[in-house]
């Protein structure tokens, strides 16, 4: 256990304390206590800086070493970048939520427990070196996200959104898990370090492509890439601090993290590059296009998040080409710039999108609506919020003097590099990127100017417009300040954080101590990138001014055939299919279930006897059959026959227990006192049980049953009898292995017990017995519940 392990576990350790703090200090907002956790962790991770040139060590805490699953953690620059975003944004969001979430009305103990669970899980994802542990934390983020989206579970839309997010991300997570297993199969380890070191092994393996595609599926589902993005807009039903934190700054970036982390293992090939770049660019364009038509500000931000994630994804795709085999170093450096841009934009996006979400949360909180049609003219009333919105939106649109400008320029450089190096097949990359950036610019303008300028529509608002309290404005102010700071000191940031992080995505391209990407400059002179930005501004302003004239194209989008309806339809279809399938065999009749069980037994045991040609009875070793044994057998047959022909239940019960008691005689003949004793007592108890149940049974009647039913019964009963007789005889003919009973004969020395049966039950096979009594007790509880439930239903009117 090292301090890094402890850092990951701290949020989990804090979880159980939160409800007590909530109960104990009702007058203090629980958020104030929780705030310490991310703040503490943020400073803990800051202490890792400045980074040393050499690779940090993998810290291993053995967990299941037999399977190669260890809690191994690793804090390199990429992990630390994410850890800083997670804890830093976490602290700001907790602070923001103190003012956003009412301490009187909301279930804060649940809220902060979920939030801490997410925080810890996310740290686990970005710091784990073991794929299985990473997967566990990955699913934990999905789970805590589910709980947080459904935090206002009274609303149907929250529940639906939560289920949708869970289904899609779990589907992705599961396929990713399969991919991980394949990777481990190919390289022989779950350790990411080990896999990267043995990437050549992986690339030659037959499972390389399926593993890659499965892992990418998981990353795309988590990072809301096309066509899996549909869960993210619905996830906006979560409280706004959560949307800002999980669904824009951190969790959705887990997919990006995974792609970046595994680039050294998978990158360099064509498939990796084309799949990631194409999915990223399509997501970028499609989501930015859809964002323009949103009327809910939060939905607009959701689509914008999807599109920005696509942007970073496509940059990671382009960067992977630097690892292509035979790539000369100068050209590789050009692609490497894309990795730097990806990391830079990732940081920028967390900052400006977090700030924008918080501003929208302020509007929602203070005005009671986020509907863009009801807003307008708020500039004078909410000057601070307005300034924050301008900074966030302009940074997103890629305008100076904000951090977004620099990373957006670098993004264009990346797409142009792809064009230059790959020539015509890649022409669509810069074109679509430019188009998408145009739409991005337009919705940023809508976000700012539709909300804050124009005519004020006070009548449509629930509350009179007013500025938010200072505490609520503080976190977005800090984030906005960072957005400006990133513009003015990009090189300090680059040297300490971004460049080392980019270097871990593309290892081996730059010597330790030497930067991967050179100087970030604000002015490149007249360049194609500048022209692209200028074009965006000019066309963007034009499109924004004439929005009503061209927004008609959105009406031409198909309404019936959308991804959402496809998702809903397939869910409903699956449900229907499974219920129809289940109704086929779950009829509610015990006789049907019994016939399945017995039928399978006949097929399995009888089939095995027949197909394996295992029936070679060998009667030579048997003892002589005594007359009294035959007599008892005859008695059993007679009582069984009585059971069949009896017309009263009481006779049946007595006949049945006679069979059981006679069988116990055999145990006495063959000197098994333990079994005889048990059989006797079980017979007694079950007879008593039958008598008890007797009370509830209807009168035994003779009904004419269809011939087919009787025939089935005949086949089953004859089959079971035959199979068991044959099995009993077949046993005599086989002595393939030494009998294991020799071992148990030493029970006195091994277990200190003279009774071998008991020693087997409680000692040699004690684990079996333990689980058996668990099953037995569970069955007893089942009977109890069934009887109670039936009663309750009967008492209901």
């Amino acid at each position: 256990m090292t301090s890094l392990h402890l850092a990951i576990l701290t949020p989990f350790l804090a979880m159980p304390i939160v409800p007590f703090l909530y109960r104990g200090f009702r007058r203090i907002h629980t958020g104030w206590f929780v705030l310490f956790v991310p703040l503490l962790l943020f400073f803990y991770f800051l202490r890792h800086f400045p980074l040393s040139a050499e690779e940090p060590a993998v810290l291993v805490l053995p967990w299941i070493p037999q399977l190669g699953v260890d809690f191994a953690v690793y804090a390199d620059a990429l992990s630390l970048l994410f850890a800083l975003i997670i804890t830093g944004m976490g602290a700001l969001v907790v602070f923001y939520s103190i003012f956003y979430m009412s301490k009187e009305r909301e279930a804060l103990h649940n809220f902060y427990v979920y939030l801490l669970c997410f925080l810890g899980a996310m740290l686990g994802v970005v710091l784990s070196d073991n794929l299985i542990v990473l997967y566990l934390f990955w699913e934990l983020t999905s789970l805590s996200s589910f709980l947080l989206i459904a935090f206002w579970f009274q609303r149907a839309k929250s529940r639906q959104g939560a289920v949708k997010a869970l289904l899609i991300t779990l589907f992705g997570g599961f396929s990713m898990f399969l991919g991980f297993l394949m990777v481990a199969e190919a390289t022989g380890s779950f350790s990411i370090r080990h896999i990267i070191a043995h990437a050549a092994l992986l690339k030659e393996h037959g499972l390389f492509l399926p593993a890659m595609l499965l892992i990418l599926l998981g990353a795309f589902a988590k990072s809301a890439q096309f066509p899996f993005y549909i869960w993210l807009p619905d996830a906006m039903e979560a409280p706004t601090p959560i949307s800002a934190y999980l669904h824009s700054a951190t969790m959705v970036k887990a997919g990006l993290y995974l792609v970046a982390r595994l680039t050294p293992a998978f990158g360099g090939g064509d498939v990796w590059f084309w799949v990631i770049t194409a999915v990223g660019i399509v997501t970028l364009l499609w989501a930015s296009f859809l964002a323009v038509r949103q009327i809910d500000l939060k939905a607009m931000l959701a689509f914008s998040t999807v599109s920005q994630l696509g942007l970073i994804m496509s940059l990671l795709g382009i960067a992977s080409l630097a690892l292509a085999p035979g790539m000369p170093e100068t050209r590789a450096k050009l692609f490497a710039a894309a990795a730097f841009a990806a990391v830079f934009h990732l940081l920028n996006h967390s900052v400006f999108k977090g700030s924008l979400f918080m501003v929208v949360g302020i509007l929602d909180h203070e005005l009671g609506t986020r509907d863009i049609r009801k807003l307008g003219g708020l500039m004078g009333v909410m000057p601070v919020s307005f300034t924050l919105a301008v900074i966030g939106a302009f940074s997103m649109a890629g305008l100076p003097p904000f951090g977004g400008f620099l990373s957006k320029e670098l993004f264009f450089t990346g797409t142009l590099t792809a064009l230059k190096e790959l020539s015509w097949p890649a022409i669509w990359i810069p074109v679509l990127a430019w188009l998408a950036s145009l739409f991005t610019f337009v919705y940023c303008m809508i976000l700012v100017f539709r909300t804050f300028t124009g005519r004020q529509q006070t009548a449509l608002l629930d509350k009179p417009p007013h500025e938010a309290p200072a505490g609520m404005l503080m976190p977005p102010v800090i984030l906005s300040a960072l957005a400006i700071l990133f513009f003015f000191v990009p090189n300090a940031l680059s040297a300490h954080l971004l460049d080392p992080a980019a270097k871990t995505i593309l290892p081996g391209l730059a010597a330790p101590g030497e930067p991967l990407f050179g100087h970030v400059s604000h002015w490149h002179g007249p360049s194609p990138e500048l022209a692209m930005t200028l074009g965006i501004v000019l066309f963007g302003v034009f499109l924004f001014r004439h929005l009503p004239k061209w927004s008609g194209i959105y009406d031409h989008l198909p309404r019936k055939w959308t991804l959402n309806t496809a998702f809903d339809k397939s869910l409903l279809g699956l449900e229907k299919l499974s219920s129809r399938l289940t109704a086929r065999y779950m009829t509610g009749y015990i006789r049907h279930y019994l016939s399945y069980i017995l039928g399978f037994m006949i097929l399995l045991v009888g089939g095995a006897l027949l197909l394996l040609n295992a029936f070679h009875p060998d009667p030579s070793g048997g003892a002589r059959v005594e007359a009294y044994e035959l007599a008892v057998a005859l008695c059993i047959v007679v009582s069984a026959y009585f059971l069949l022909i009896s017309r009263s239940r009481l006779t049946s019960i007595i006949a049945l227990s006679a069979v059981g008691l006679l069988v116990s005689l055999y145990y006495i003949f063959f000197r098994a006192p333990d079994l005889a004793l048990t059989q006797l007592v079980v017979e007694t108890i079950s007879t008593a049980l039958f008598l008890l149940c007797f009370y509830f049974l209807p009168k035994l009647q003779h009904v004419e049953v269809p011939r087919s039913f009787r025939l089935t019964n005949l086949v089953l009963s004859v089959g079971v009898g035959l199979v068991f007789t044959l099995l009993g005889l077949a046993v005599t003919g086989h002595r393939l292995f030494e009998p294991i009973s020799r071992y148990y004969e030493n029970a006195k020395e091994l277990a200190g017990a003279n009774n071998i049966v008991n020693a087997i039950l409680v000692d040699f096979r004690g684990f079996d017995t333990m689980l058996e009594i668990v099953v037995l007790f569970t069955a007893g509880l089942g009977v109890f519940t069934l009887i109670r439930f039936r009663n309750r239903r009967r008492h209901e009117p």
Binding site: L677, I685, M770, F777, F784
Partner: protein, 187 residues
Amino acid sequence: MSEPTDKRRGSPSPKPAAAWRRKFRSLASIRAYEDKAADDSRRIRLPGKFNDVYLHTASQVLVFLIMTYAIYILFAGHNNPGGGFVGGLVTATGFVLLYLAFDSKTVRQIIPVNFRSIGAAGVLIAVLTGAVPALMGEPFLTHRTDHARLPLVGDVHLATAVLFDIGVFLAVLGTAMTIISNISEDE
């Protein structure tokens, strides 16, 4: 369960002596069922002729014998036929005898325990006897045996396996009685 049984039958107090005169409902109903004259309704009046003083007297003695035997085979199981499973079942037969001789209300006065808790306690004991060695760094469910000299009793063979067997005993007893008592008390 909500309605006390004696109200419907019109007998006033739940004194044991009075309760003894009542029948175990199931047994009575069996008789009534077999009696073709009885109507088909589920709420059958007792015939009132059935004199079960033999059953009462015998069961009062027998139950103690059964219990003693059950505890004997629970502990004897280590070296002789028996063990927790059979012991639990034998104890359950003793309780079933009580249910047959007296009505369920009386039985619940005699044994005022929740059988579900007993079953759960049994499972818990069994799991804990496994967990303790695991916590001390040995394989799960490792058993130890030892001898001890106790005053008056003399040399005693002690085994942790017996603790596990007590868990089995309680789990089996609790489960069997949960089922039986629930079915018999069900209306």
